[in-house]
């Protein structure tokens, strides 16, 4: 069999090998070249008696099949003797398969201590004794393989096998730790849980099943785990009946209570779903990973406390899902009317708050800024979406305080995106304060409104937490009010106000209000808030609401519609007015600790563009005005403008580019050849270089969201024609973003800030956003070529399994002189899985691989220790790597001028390009030279083998007899074998490098007679 897994020269002990599984293992090992110690006490299934017959028979079977074996009749409890037998018989020991076992099945009630003890002694103590005796030998020779035999009974339990289950899982524990202790010494320890028909399982399985469960179905796994090329250790496998599988631990995501809290039985009971549920489960593979969850909880810091109603740890900082909403002039007008605006419809300034066609322009009442965020919070509450850890009902909640700030005047219509979070939680003793912050952003992503809703939660305090700031703020100064406004609230005002979104029946339904202890429906606190703000604005910003900056109030008492609201104002500065509201009829303060701040100047939006033209129509149907986003047309228009402004580019770039965009299709020609350059739709002019990609990818690239190089190597950006010309597109980096904005405006679209980064934008594809993993592997190709010693030092094959985008690279530092190949090569010893981004950060030293590993971002499978040998990667000089890459890329481009539409990445650049290799031509020329100058051979009289790297090739120059010859391949009987890179060979021939110098630098390796390396004159001038 080709590639047969062999054990030649290895010595294996199989305990309990007289029959069943052990016999099957022994026969398999014997047939694959191993020398087998067939150990069997020859006892009964339940442990009594002994005989040599069983072991002798298996030994005879192995020998009959041409194998080598010797018998051992000792009990595994005399493990040292069995190990000694291996040493005596075969002089060494490589593999121990702990297989011996007995059964003493009985229900636990009937189990005797002897049943328990005997099982322990044979399975656990026996495996310990044999393995313990073998261990020093393994340790010394830095090599060993151990297999423990466990059972499903141990893993899952099985009636009547309490003793056996204990022993079998005990072996797994032993195996787990031995795997760790042995790892550095080349000792691998694994556990199998076989299901096979043997005399042990006859007692628990039906006959028909046993017939299907041949021991021979188990042994191949055992043998593979014992092979020197198998890197597995510390594993647990289920095997039998033709089925092979590996087991691992799964752990629920679990529940963490912060340190410092009283951990209660109730807490466990309550969280049982999280503790015992497997949604989002993890698979800890070692103690470090096991501890991560605990460590994370400890590092999260001590608990901030809480009680049945409020869990501060869970709630504080919670971020609600993002919500969006829209409003327009209609919403603003209804709100304004709701807070009593335009009670005098002839008041011009009041009219501007409700009349969209007002001559001096419609103006939004600034306190509307509280409405959309409030509404979205209420909607979330109705949908059942509350912050975790806030478990009180709305009946306990009182709107205690409100803060609303506008970053600039509210536009007449807007789409808002709201981001809310629990900002503060204070323990006020009897009650608690919960502050929810909502930040609302406009369509361009600019922050527009900030709200802080402070809710007083009755009866929810008292957990001993932080009381929060206790200073009274915004107290009226000790003088009569500087100004006072008095306004009677309409009797139906609450019914009008609720149309803005607060549908609580308390404000409309008399019966409902009564049930809450009010004689009639009360006014919304936020309605009073709107009245007060209107009063202050009217008094201090001349009725122009655009100067409004912020308002902060405390709700002190309820107001009934029909009452008279008196707002007393104190001007503390030009921009700060402290105020308070009273109900005239009852002389009760209803809003206290209140202040409004004003802007000195009306703030302007950051983005220049005015939002889409307001249409006096219902917003719901108004299509979002086209355009706050640039299109590919805008970019090309901008490029055209740029070329016009920069005519000198043509002489520098001198190329014509064609962009073929798809979905939707468009073709653009960017001519930077004939001054002053031009951009035209269509592709009639023949281009030097054509770039094909989707419109979406083009825009993604232009807005910096997608990396051009990734698109290119991911096959999404195809470049045909002059590949190198695409590098000239770098000039696009200088494109002024203002040009893009102009282009957008020219087509009547707003140009939001988001368009700005577009400049970087069009920046050329191949022109290079930083290096990619492909560059790194190209550099590695060159590096491995220059460092053949890496193979001896490393001796392992690594597979890099990159994601986002997915690529695979095989770094072979085990075979021949080492190589780097795209894709999955043969049998990697160690696989490293990580994202492309993390790989780049790792290889550029930005991130520590160990951190990636422990953070779960770098997964290493196979021989983990081998990965430590990759440290040389960090020693590669970046400047050198850049050169190497440039050189290899240059060669690639030279080799494939019309590489064309195929994604170049797939062209396996790692195998160095045929066009770049010089060796073949050089040795061909040498063959001719030898024929012409037979005297050359006479001077040397020896054969010299050349092992060329980067790319790999081998030749032998045989100069033993004239006229000499050149052959492919490195002859083993050459006087010297010279190993060097193709480029260095070419340099030697060209006379631009000296052999001695290359040798001293380790770039020319000479095995055998070093003098022959001093006689390479025959290469001079070849291949020139």
């Amino acid at each position: 069999m080709a590639n047969e897994v062999r054990f030649d020269g290895k010595v294996v002990i199989v305990t309990g090998a007289g029959g069943g599984l052990g016999r099957s293992h022994a026969l398999l090992f014997g047939s694959r070249g191993a020398k087998v110690i067939v150990n069997d006490l020859g006892g009964a299934m339940t442990g009594g008696g002994r005989s040599s017959a069983a072991a002798d028979k298996v030994v005879a079977e192995i020998k009959a099949a041409g194998g080598e074996a010797a018998a051992s009749y000792d009990s595994v409890e005399d493990g040292a003797k069995i190990v000694q037998a291996a040493l005596d018989s075969f002089g060494r020991l490589d593999i121990v398969v702990n297989n011996a076992g007995i059964l003493r099945d009985t229900s636990f009630a009937k189990m005797t201590e002897e049943d328990w003890d005997l099982i322990y002694r044979v399975h656990v103590l026996g495996a310990f004794r044999v393995t313990h005796a073998a261990w020093p030998h393994f340790y010394k020779q830095q090599y060993g393989r151990v297999v423990m035999t466990a059972s499903a009974a141990g893993i899952y339990g099985n009636f009547g096998q309490a003793n056996y289950s204990m022993a079998k899982l005990g072996l797994l524990g032993l195996s787990n730790t031995l795997a760790i202790e042995g790892r550095k010494k080349g000792i691998h320890v694994n556990t199998v849980a076989p299901l096979a028909g043997s005399r042990l399982t006859e007692t628990v399985l039906p006959k028909e099943l046993i017939d299907a469960l041949k021991p021979e179905y188990v042994s191949p796994l055992v043998a593979w785990l014992c092979h020197e090329s198998c890197t597995e250790t510390g594993g647990l496998y289920e095997v039998g009946g033709g089925y092979f599988a590996k087991l691992r631990w799964e752990r629920s995501k679990g529940k963490s209570y912060r340190i410092g809290r009283t951990m209660t039985v109730e807490g466990v009971k309550e969280a049982w779903g999280e503790i015992a549920g497997f949604d989002g489960a993890e698979h800890p593979a070692d103690i470090a990973q096991s501890m991560q969850a605990v460590m994370a909880n400890v590092q999260a810091g001590p608990s901030k406390g809480g009680n049945d109603l409020i869990d501060v740890d869970l709630a504080l900082g919670y971020e609600y899902p993002e919500r969006t909403s829209r409003y327009d002039e209609r919403d603003l007008s209804i709100y304004a009317l709701g807070v009593g605006a335009a009670a005098d419809p002839l008041d011009d300034k009041e009219l501007a708050l409700v009349y969209e066609m007002h001559g001096s322009g419609f103006k939004a009442l600034p306190t509307y800024g509280v409405i959309p965020p409030m509404n979205q919070l209420m909607t979330m509450a109705k949908e059942g979406l509350t912050a975790p850890g806030l478990k009180y009902g709305l009946d306990r909640l009182l709107h205690g305080e409100q803060y609303t700030e506008l970053l600039r005047p509210l536009p007449p219509s807007q789409k808002l995106t709201h981001r809310s979070r629990i900002k503060e939680i204070w323990d006020k003793g009897k009650g608690a304060l919960v502050v929810t912050e909502t930040k609302s952003y406009d369509e361009a992503g600019e922050l527009l409104i900030v709200n802080e809703f402070t809710a007083f939660i009755r009866g929810a305090g008292g957990w001993g937490g932080d009381r929060g700031p206790s200073t009274e703020i915004n107290l009226p100064p000790d003088r009569p009010a500087d100004a006072t406004a008095s306004e009677k609230i309409g009797a139906s005002q609450a019914l009008l106000y609720r149309l803005s979104g607060d549908w609580n029946p308390l404000h409309a339904d008399p019966n409902f209000a009564k049930a809450f202890g009010f004689e009639r429906p009360i006014l919304h606190g936020l309605c009073t808030f709107g009245y007060a703000a209107r009063h202050v604005v009217k008094q201090y910003s001349n009725g122009d609401p655009r100067y409004f900056k912020s308002i902060k109030v405390r709700f002190a008492d309820s107001v009934f519609p029909g009452e008279t609201l008196v707002t007393e104002m104190w001007k503390e500065s030009d921009t700060r007015i402290v105020f308070r509201c009273k109900v005239k009829e009852r002389d009760k303060v209803v809003i206290s600790n209140a202040a409004i701040e004003l802007y000195r100047e009306i703030p302007q939006p950051k983005a220049k563009a005015a939002p889409a033209a307001a249409k006096p129509a219902a917003a719901a149907t108004a299509a979002p005005a086209a355009a706050a986003v640039p299109t590919s047309d805008d970019i090309f228009t901008a490029i055209g403008a740029f070329l016009k402004k920069t005519p000198e580019l043509s002489s520098k770039v001198g190329k014509i580019f064609q962009f073929k965009l798809t979905a939707p299709d468009s073709v653009w020609t960017v001519d930077v050849k004939a001054a002053p350059g031009a951009v035209a739709r269509g592709g009639s002019t023949p281009a030097d270089c054509t770039l094909e990609l989707t419109d979406a990818d083009f825009m993604g690239m232009c807005t910096g969201k997608l990396d051009a190089q990734k698109l290119y190597f991911g096959g999404k950006l195809k470049i045909s024609g002059d590949l190198m010309a695409s590098q000239r597109l770098e000039f696009l980096r200088k494109l002024d973003p203002a040009l893009v904005v102009e282009a957008m405006q020219a087509r009547g679209a707003g140009a939001p800030a988001a368009a700005a980064p577009a400049a970087a934008a069009a920046a050329a594809p191949a022109a290079s956003a930083g290096p990619s993993s492909e560059d790194v592997f190209l550099a590695l190709t060159a590096y491995v070529g220059e460092h053949p010693e890496l193979v001896a030092k490393t001796g392992a094959v690594f597979l890099f399994d990159l994601s986002e985008p997915a690529t695979q690279w095989t770094l072979d530092l085990k075979n021949a002189k080492g190589s780097v190949v795209r894709g999955k090569g043969e049998a990697p010893d160690c696989t490293l899985a990580l994202s492309e981004g993390d790989f780049m950060d790792m290889s550029t030293g930005k991130v520590d691989p160990q951190k990636l590993y422990f953070g779960g971002k770098l997964k290493i499978s196979g021989n983990v220790m081998a990965s430590t040998k990759l440290s040389f990667l960090q020693k590669i000089d970046p400047a050198w790597a850049a050169q190497a890459v440039a050189k290899l890329r240059g060669e690639m481009a030279a080799a494939k001028p019309a590489a064309a539409t195929a994604p170049v990445g797939a062209a396996a650049p790692a195998r160095a390009p045929a066009g770049g290799a010089k060796a073949a031509a050089l040795f061909a020329a040498l063959g001719k030279r030898l024929a012409a100058e037979p005297g050359l051979a006479k001077d040397i009289g020896a054969a010299i083998a050349f092992k060329v790297t980067a790319p790999a090739a081998a030749y032998t120059v045989d100069l033993r007899t004239a006229p000499g010859s050149v052959k492919d391949g490195a002859a083993s009987d050459a006087g010297a074998t010279l190993t060097l890179a193709d480029a260095d060979l070419a340099a030697l021939a060209a006379g631009s490098a000296a052999a001695q110098d290359l040798f001293q630098r380790g770039r020319l390796r000479v095995d055998g007679d070093v003098r022959l390396a001093q006689k390479l004159g025959f290469l001079k001038g070849l291949g020139a």
Partner: protein, 393 residues
């Protein structure tokens, strides 16, 4: 000329791998007590002490020697890279020779970390930057252990010049293991074949792992005294230092663009010449040699530097067995740095101990027959080289 200086007693502890040894103070005090016992004197007879070590904070010497006694004598801490031990020995010798002391204790110790030698201080000029500049110019610099690059590079240069086989280097390690087998103080006593040595992982062509000395922990000590002191303590025919010379780098190290020069070949040759001249002896008078085989390449070069063979003759010298029992000389009967180990500060004194035992005829299974004159060579990059001639009349 000064007074004759005798080596009245020597002692050492078994060398260990890093992590497996006792702490430096324990090792050093044990070695010192062994030397005192060997000399048959009490610590209070010691007038000065010289303590050599490379790695450790200041005054480790006191800390170690205080475990032997607190007599308030001067204690000098000596640091001279791999030549630290013999530099301390030279200072002690000078004190006795110059009549400044009758009896001194010299102890060398090192508690090393695992792995190849590196730099501890990276915020200041590296003391070997000039040496490194030469290497960088001649052969570049890669990720192999720097010392291996220095000595391996010298090996390459020698190989190119004389056409030497790689196996010749390996042969030196084979001999070292063979010698160490009989040394209970040595770290590696398992024999190795040339094939095994060649097949070991390559550290820096042509050096494989088995051709590089290991990081080691250990200590060794010597008691030096005047003739009067020796007589007073009833010593009969003690081993004495017939000559000793120390050299440092010359312009050739930095200007010759040669790795052989860069690793101190001239320092060794100059020190040997001075020592021979002073002792009035030549290489042919020497029977046993402990020389600085930090790498096989250096042992090979040192044969020529010490004049054990002519230039370019080392390969023949080695394959003829002239470096081992039955040949012209026995080099490194202790197993040398390669097999006995190389605890930097202790090495110079361990070499001294071995040669004293050889000259006394008490070296057991590794005794070199008829050893009358012994030669010690201890070299440190950076640089320093001490060559010492011992005799017993």
């Amino acid at each position: 000329m000064g007074r004759k200086v005798n080596v009245l007693g020597v002692g050492m502890v078994k060398f260990q791998k890093p992590g497996a040894s006792e702490e430096y103070n324990v090792m050093a005090s044990k070695a010192a007590r062994a030397a005192l016992e060997d000399a048959g004197i009490a610590y209070d007879a010691v007038e000065q002490a010289y303590a050599g070590y490379v790695f450790g904070d200041s005054t480790c010497g006191q800390r170690a020697i205080y475990e032997v006694g607190l007599t308030g004598i001067p204690v000098f801490n000596v640091n001279n890279n791999c030549a630290t031990g013999s530099t301390a020995l030279l200072l002690g010798r000078q004190a006795v020779e110059g009549g400044l002391a009758e009896c001194v204790l010299v102890v060398g110790f090192e508690q090393m970390e695992k792995g190849a030698l590196g730099s501890k201080y990276t915020d200041r000029t590296n003391p070997m930057d000039q040496h490194a500049a030469v290497m960088s110019k001649v052969q570049g610099f890669n990720e192999a252990p720097p010392a291996a690059q220095f000595f391996g590079g010298a090996g390459r240069e020698y190989r190119w010049r004389w056409g030497t086989k790689k196996e010749t280097f390996a042969k030196i390690s084979e001999k070292a293991r063979k010698h160490a087998k009989n040394n209970p103080y040595a770290l590696f006593t398992d024999p190795l074949t040339v094939e095994e040595i060649m097949a070991a992982p390559e550290v820096f062509d042509p050096l494989t792992r088995y051709q590089c000395c290991p990081p080691t922990c250990g200590a060794a000590a010597a008691i030096l005294c005047s003739d009067d002191f020796a007589k007073k303590h009833g010593a009969s025919r003690p081993v004495y230092i017939a000559a000793q010379a120390m050299t440092t780098d010359t312009p050739a190290t930095f200007k010759a663009d040669s790795m052989i020069k860069a690793i101190g070949y001239d320092m060794a040759a100059n020190a040997a010449k001075k020592a021979y001249d002073k002792a009035g002896l030549g290489p042919k008078d020497v029977q046993v040699i402990e020389l600085h085989d930090c790498f096989t390449a250096n042992e090979l070069l040192t044969y020529e530097a010490l004049g054990l063979c002519g230039e370019g003759e080392a390969e023949k010298f080695i394959w003829s067995g002239d470096n081992t029992y039955g040949g012209k000389f026995v080099t490194n009967p202790s197993g040398g740095l390669l097999s006995k180990g190389h605890p930097l500060g202790a090495t110079g004194l361990a070499q001294c101990a071995e040669l004293v035992w050889q000259l006394r005829g008490t070296a057991g299974a590794r005794q070199v027959a008829g050893a009358k004159v012994a030669l010690q060579h201890n070299l440190g990059l950076g640089g320093a080289c001490v060559v010492t001639v011992y005799r017993r009349d």
